[in-house]
Amino acid sequence: MALDPALVGRGYPPSAVYEVGRQKIAEFADAIGEADPVHRDTDAARAAGHPDVIAPPTFAIALTLSAAGVVVEDPDVALDYSRVVHGEQRFTHHRPIRAGDRLVATPTIEAVRSIGGNDLLTTRVDVATEDGEPVCSATSMLVARGTA
């Protein structure tokens, strides 16, 4: 069933707080083979002008993917996850994510389209500190094949 265009603009409540651990940052950097010391060594991060170790630029996906999952599971959206592939991804960084950040992720449906029997769902997840400082936005376009 094609997605309802009236879904565009629908917002969801903020996620629970995600606390960014320095070990998680190091684990993620290891997983992408990134050896830069700003991900592991506080002194190196400070020398580069950061208050603490920073996360690689795509680290936000570790929290925004599950936030976008809330949208996919919305009964009014209800995409069949086994048919979903990742079509596009965008990150806009206001500042790097860093160790000790306490972040909340807030999803919004930005666009829905149906093309060639596929449903396209674009979700923007705004990531901010729990105090409201904007950190980044992650926009994911998901393609559900053969569902429209």
């Binding site: 998680k24 684990e27 993620f28 290891d30 997983a31 992408i32 083979g33 990134e34 830069d36 700003v38 991900h39 580069a48 002008g49 950061h50 920073i54 690689p56 630029p57 795509t58 996906i61 570790a62 993917l65 599950s66 086994s82 592939v85 990742h86 079509g87 596009e88 991804q89 965008r90 990150f91 806009t92 960084h93 500042r95 790097p96």
Partner: protein, 142 residues
């Protein structure tokens, strides 16, 4: 929070050093754990072929992360990447051997802003095929 590369040393057309990154099945398992994306198409041949894929494929987000490495290695600071977009065009199929797949990243400065920001246009290939399209990273230069 700015890069080691100075805007004054960059022009439209400046090319980034080409980088090639190997991606093995073990890398996919490690990335699944680090990112929390446990979709079996990234580690289970049976599931991958059942859904019509040629085999186990890399996480698109891993390919995106590798392409970002090429940009931030050039810029000199992973914190300098302010805007980054890719379209996942074609999957990176990762064979079940020790060599795995190879992802090659080329980049060229496509635009320079007055604010010292450079847009890098990326060409990301594996096995001679483009795997990302419309791949663009904006970096805050020194």
């Amino acid at each position: 929070m700015t890069a080691a590369v100075r805007a004054a040393d960059v022009a439209v057309g400046t090319e980034l050093p080409e980088q090639t990154y190997p991606v093995t099945r073990a890398d996919l398992v490690r990335y699944a754990g680090a990112s929390g994306d446990f979709n079996p198409i990234h580690w289970n041949e049976r599931v991958a072929t059942e859904v019509g894929l040629p085999g186990v494929i890399a996480h698109g987000m891993l390919t995106m992360a590798l392409a970002a490495r090429a940009v931030t290695a050039w810029a000199g600071d992973p914190g300098a990447l302010v805007e980054y977009h890719v379209r996942f065009g074609r999957p990176v199929v990762v064979p079940d051997d020790d060599a795995g797949a190879r992802v090659t990243v080329r980049g060229k400065v496509g635009a320079l802003g007055d604010d010292g920001r450079a847009r890098v246009d990326l060409t990301v290939t594996s096995g001679g095929e483009k795997v990302l399209s419309l791949a663009r990273a904006t970096v805050q230069l020194a």
